[in-house]
């Protein structure tokens, strides 16, 4: 069944077609949600929300982009908005803990490249981190990233380059690991 036929069947309320569409895309959506959220509960919630919205809005899908691009645009919007709220909430919680004087000190950075890298990726600005995770971790092309995030391909490339530069700076202590 090609994509156009699948969409037509989903629009007509065919449950089996809905499941086929879900099966075809859920892995990639969940992986991206997990990579960006770093939490299984949030990744599940974001993935579910993405598909609920996609099924509701499929009637308005005009086929100008590929279905996977359209679906990933919904997914990134759900994930990034969701993470903004989570971040706001956690910041409030941290403020409360700080005010109560119960917060523990920050753990000392572990002398381990992967841990330091994870921390450095977490510290990247939203846009840089999204592009870095999509491109360098999940293997999306700049064209896919541009279409998904609604930015020019050049913007995606520039953000990736800046993200790498920031990471390189943050990991300067580990230069020996990649100096041959």
């Amino acid at each position: 069944m090609d994509e156009r036929e699948l969409i037509a069947r989903v629009r007509a309320g065919d449950g089996a077609a809905e499941r086929t569409l879900y099966d075809a895309h859920v892995d990639r959506v969940y992986r991206l949600a997990y990579r960006l959220a770093g939490d299984d509960g949030l990744a599940r919630e974001f993935t579910q929300d993405t598909f609920v919205r996609a099924f509701e809005r499929l009637a308005s899908f005009r086929g100008e982009a590929k279905l996977s691009t359209w679906l990933h645009a919904i997914a990134t919007s759900v994930v990034l908005n969701g993470l903004r709220k989570v971040k706001r909430f956690r910041r409030r919680e941290t403020d409360l803990e700080d005010a109560a004087g119960v917060a523990g000190g920050r753990r000392a950075a572990e002398p381990d490249l992967k841990r330091r890298l994870a921390q450095a990726i977490d510290d990247l600005p939203h846009g840089y981190r999204t592009v870095f995770v999509m491109h360098d971790v999940e293997g999306y092309t700049h064209e896919e990233i541009g279409a998904t995030l609604g930015v020019e391909t050049g913007t995606s490339k520039a953000q990736l380059s800046r993200a790498r530069a920031r990471l390189r700076e943050a990991l300067a202590d580990f230069a020996g690991e990649w100096v041959s």
Partner: protein
């Protein structure tokens, strides 16, 4: 150190960044089906309430029109004023009762859903609908009653807060709204102001 080598090391090391487990396909599919069913049911439940909203706005508009018409003071109108005053008062009472009932239903639903962290966009939409009616009520003779006016002003604030909630709610904002409702005893005052049971039953056959 070369850029190429750095990028390769970076990409390899980054594979462990938030490494996802196997996709929980079945569990998520069941949740999606449940969420869509719940949305469908909620939409069906809300449709009649929206129709009531339009009705209330129409009744208020008629009330305001009658009020303005009788205020012009021409002799012909003066002659029929007592009758129109009575019907105007009735229209305002009816509109107020319907408005208060709908608002009570919304706030009660909002509080119970907020407990399970499910306050969502439907509430924001309903609150926006009711906000317009609240403004009309405040501008109508119904607001000459000081107690009702105070209640309407508090309701306007609460409805505005709910109307501005983002989709999927913001837990902290929802808690603030609930605190406001409790501190100002809004629901209690609402029920006291509108004690005679659901509007649709009370007003059956009145129009």
């Amino acid at each position: 150190m070369t850029d190429e080598r750095f990028e390769r090391v970076l990409r390899e090391a980054a594979q462990d960044y938030h490494r996802p487990p196997a996709t929980p396909r079945e569990e998520m599919w069941l949740q999606i089906i449940a969420a869509r069913d719940a949305r469908r049911r909620r939409r069906v439940m809300l449709r009649p309430r929206l129709a009531w909203g339009v009705g209330i706005a129409a009744v208020l508009a008629v009330g305001v029109a009658i009020g303005r018409w009788t205020a012009t003071g021409s002799p012909r109108i003066a002659a029929i004023a007592p009758a129109t005053d009575r019907s105007s008062a009735f229209v305002y009472q009816l509109a107020a009762a319907q408005y208060l009932t709908r608002t009570e239903v919304l706030l009660t639903g909002f509080r119970s859903e907020a407990r399970s962290s499910q306050a969502d966009a439907q509430f924001a939409r309903q609150a926006r609908d009711l906000l317009g009616t609240t403004r009309l009520m405040l501008d109508s003779p119904a607001a000459q009653d000081g107690r009702l006016k105070g209640l309407l002003e508090d309701l306007e604030l609460v409805l505005a807060q709910i109307a501005q909630l983002p989709p999927r709610g913001d837990t902290a904002e929802v808690q603030l709204i609930n605190q406001g409702l409790e501190q100002r005893s809004v629901l209690l005052r609402l029920r006291t102001a509108n004690p005679a049971g659901p509007g649709p039953v009370r007003t059956q056959g009145a129009l």
